[in-house]
Symmetry: C2
Subunit: 224 residues, 2 copies
């Protein structure tokens, strides 16, 4: 009997699997349009805030983008374990059916993956949206929050890649899915948070240097 | 045939297992002495640094303690997969044999556990020791580093507890091991990093407020 689903390994049991009904062009097309709306819309709107540099505005867009993905797209995966059985289906269920071709731990609901996604959706999603707000409002905690949230993202993504690397099974259904979905898509959440964390780290260090410089005794903190 | 090892489940296969040769009193005794040496020694030595408050000095001791545990104790677990087969044995091998009674994913070498411990040993261990140095030397990056490292510890520990909670197997060999080793020991790495991160977060926010207060235009950052 042929496998009723397109994932690797074929022996993976997914009772009640409903075959994908949206094409990959449609799924990725909608995702691209969503990305463009967030970045173009976010960049335009934040132009009204005079204190923000161009890079600040781009980083606000990043936090809005990643926060929405965490809360809604990854949140859907975590809290809708039956997404691959739904009939009628919906866009997010189809998106996760498509993504599973690059990493079958998603349809298989590997415990570690579900829990990493759970922490991402429940903690890092709201934290990311708060980071966007904190930058726009120039809150004093903006950089601490960005370091904390970015480190969480890098930690989760590192564990995501490492657990895949040390799995004996083949998780993807071909090099296009491996490189396109598994490597390419996830690398964004390694590289961008790393750069954002480094930038905020730099600002924090400067703030301490600057707040010390105004004190008469230089580098010494007040003893308490 | 009786199980050749003391872990749960008894069906766990550990070929070549060498029974524990050190008593739990000895293992925990050495661990307690090590802890006391680090805290008493670290607290005394940092008394020479006039800029450090008592709480600063305690936090330096924490970073020295957790950094040493991460690098050497957890590092040993990660890089000595055959620890339970060693004959003659050593202290760290015996410590991990004892701890396994509280969480059999250690002797079973559960992939997620080994990888969380790997990130902890390789990244968070050196980062913790650097944090101790950064506080003593009053480096401007001290608080950013403490937030980043603490968030990594909380993330790892959260995933550690969650993966255990969602495992169907019973991982401990009794309530004393469950509460004493699994819950009690690991809770330190939830509570202390959380408090340390909150404290550094507060200092970072204050540094931004203070560095802004000296600028003529108040809260606005320079546009670039």
């Amino acid at each position: 009997m042929d496998s009723p689903h397109p994932y690797s390994p074929a022996s993976l049991e997914l009772p009640g699997f409903v075959p994908q009904q949206m094409s990959w062009e449609f799924i990725l097309g909608i995702f691209t349009i969503f990305t463009l709306i967030v970045f173009v819309g976010g960049y335009s709107l934040t132009g009204r805030v005079k204190s923000l540099s161009k890079l600040d505005r781009l980083i606000v867009c990043w936090w809005l983008f990643t926060g929405t993905i965490h809360c809604f797209v990854e949140g859907y995966f975590v809290f809708a374990p039956d997404y691959y059985k739904l009939n009628p289906t919906n866009y997010l269920a189809e998106l996760w059916k498509e993504y599973g071709k690059g990493d079958s731990r998603y349809p298989a609901r590997d415990t570690t993956i579900v829990l990493i996604e759970g922490i991402t959706a429940v903690v890092e999603g709201p934290a990311s949206l708060l980071a966007a707000y904190a930058i726009v409002k120039n809150k004093p905690y903006a950089h601490a929050l960005q370091v904390a949230t970015s480190i969480g993202q890098v930690y989760g993504d590192t564990l995501y890649f490492l657990t895949a690397y040390f799995t004996e099974e083949k998780l993807d259904v071909g090099p296009l899915y491996f490189w396109g979905y598994f490597v390419f898509m996830n690398m964004f959440w390694m590289v961008v948070p790393f750069l954002v964390a480094c930038r905020s780290w730099g600002y924090i260090s400067k703030a301490f240097e600057s707040s010390r410089a105004q004190k008469p005794n230089g580098a010494n903190k007040k003893k308490k």
